[in-house]
Point group: C2
């Protein structure tokens, strides 16, 4: 049932029975070290390029997801997802390994949210019963695509974030086949929002207005206050972007509770010197599939609002003097 301009209350139960993730070594040494069960030994994994390594990581994540689900890929109606590489190379090449229909998505680091929204709508249509949603990012493939070759050894700017090497995946299903399976109960699909930020090393500022816009719309569309949720996590605004988002919402009269946090902000520890925190299409998916899914399982939180955030630039758009538009999708996940 559509609510307001951008939101949907699902009439059917959309269960998340399974979740799986893989992360890189650095990610496994951060704040969430106790939650990441599957860690890559190195970031090339015997592949000849970082791009192929990311593809392999995403494939391993889907295979792990199938393993924990106890199902085969043919039990699923489709696989959908995306990544940050040009023409979502990692996801297209990962999907090639699985003999089921494929929907390629691109919403930058918000892609996991886009997948949960689209997947939920697909299941609500009654035509699809089971769906795999997967996203990934890889520090080394992203760095040389969006910024500079790693070999240059460029100094990082103080407001920069570290693209995580990580992949996260979940299954969506109209049936509960596990003892524990939280539900996607509502979504707010984001608009493209652009406040004119032009610094490609300050993604948090570029995405914060989109996150604030989607959060504000979510609360308004569903007549909910932020206190409805036990936890609200944006995707990868990082420390500065998260503060900015809180400030923008405050200006609109919305006081965010202490339970408001950000996957990118918490994934690394301060010691790791990654400045504003983590980012990447694998950030919100891997943090959800490990840490947040576990908090839900342990009943430490029962109502989660996950808001993956994306910056819709490419390597050329800042050079062509374009500002960086953002987008964010809110997904209400409840036990």
């Amino acid at each position: 049932m559509k609510k307001g301009k951008q939101s949907v209350f699902f009439q059917k139960d959309i269960f998340i029975n399974d979740a799986a993730s893989y992360v890189g070594k650095r990610e496994s040494e951060g704040n969430l070290r106790d939650y990441f069960q599957n860690v890559l030994k190195d970031d090339l994994m015997k592949e000849k390029s970082y791009e192929l390594a990311e593809t392999k990581m995403q494939k391993m994540t889907v295979e792990k997801l199938l393993e924990v689900s106890g199902k085969t890929v043919n039990d699923f109606d489709c696989i959908m997802g995306g990544d940050l590489q040009n023409q979502i190379f990692a996801t297209s090449f990962c999907a090639r390994e699985f003999d089921i229909p494929f929907f390629g998505l691109y919403g930058a680091c918000s892609t996991f949210g886009e997948g949960l929204c689209a997947g939920g709508l697909f299941i609500e249509s009654g035509n699809f019963k089971k769906i795999i949603v997967v996203t990934s990012s890889h520090f080394s493939s992203a760095e040389r695509n969006y910024r500079f070759p790693l070999e240059l050894g460029n100094q990082r700017t103080p407001l920069s974030q570290w693209t995580v090497t990580a992949s996260g995946a979940v299954t969506l299903s109209d049936e509960k086949y596990k003892d524990f399976a939280p539900k996607i109960t509502a979504i707010t699909v984001g608009k493209v929002v652009d406040f004119g930020v032009t610094d490609a090393n300050n993604m948090g500022a570029a995405m914060a207005p989109a996150a604030a816009d989607t959060l504000k719309t979510h609360f308004s569309d569903l007549s909910r206050s932020p206190d409805y949720y036990d936890a609200i996590f944006t995707g990868d605004l990082g420390i500065f972007g998260h503060e900015l988002c809180t400030h923008l919402l405050s200006n609109d009269g919305i006081t965010m509770p202490k339970t408001f946090s950000d996957c990118g902000k918490i994934i690394f520890s301060e010691k790791q010197k990654v400045f504003m925190g983590g980012s990447g299409a694998g950030c919100s998916s891997a943090v959800f599939a490990s840490y947040l899914f576990e908090l839900l399982r342990k009943n430490e939180i029962k109502k989660l609002l996950l808001v993956p955030t994306g910056a819709l630039l490419n390597k050329d758009s800042p050079l062509q003097k374009q500002s960086i538009p953002g987008i964010a999708h809110a997904v209400s996940i409840e036990v």
Copy 2:
């Protein structure tokens, strides 16, 4: 209702009330010259880059679509689509201009088919009532992204195709608000298929196996023969790819009728010397939104199977010795 492994019969009516397209000068001088109503004067349109020009063309197409629909953008639940630029720059920046939810898709030149499939499922869910689907491609932005700078003046290879400068858009709706509005009655969502083709100048061969796979599955899932349709159009296999697809189907015992054609094959005339024909994410959408929509309107065809085809490479994947996977989605459109 899911049919077979990859297909859906829609239970609701999914109407295409409106269609609009813009094409470049060269495209307007081809075989379909009488059908393209909106033609760009030049391929830069006073923008400073081809990428920005493509964005502008896509925006003009959506504006034209809204004009013919007699509706405002706020009457639509979301806009969805994609293009061939890195990180679907044109579509993200186009969506920035419209204040409604956005789903970014990437399926290369199959994106229009992906959008019709996803949009149909969204409407079938009952949550969304009206959706805009748009795709585009631009010869000059594609050429310098995927192949060489135009300034090099490279000779084109005999099996190459010409990326069309074109954008096509349609509205999907659960209600018929125009006198003429064909319906999407069924879809077959494609899998990623890779036969090991490595020549980035022979996209037709890379995509033909995916098109054949989707067509075969479509006929099997829905228990239909090719003769069910008055016309079957693949997206942009071009002359060689279309022949190859026909051959592959023939090997599987499926004889394609003379009504089997390809948008890329017919868009240019032989005189225009574009070798195997047109290609691009705007090819199937612009040809559908003008020529095929008009054939349906005139009742010259009543049952159309549109099968947009995509090659899932990026500029680096052939250099990294990867073959080119293809994908194709079949959309059954009936008056």
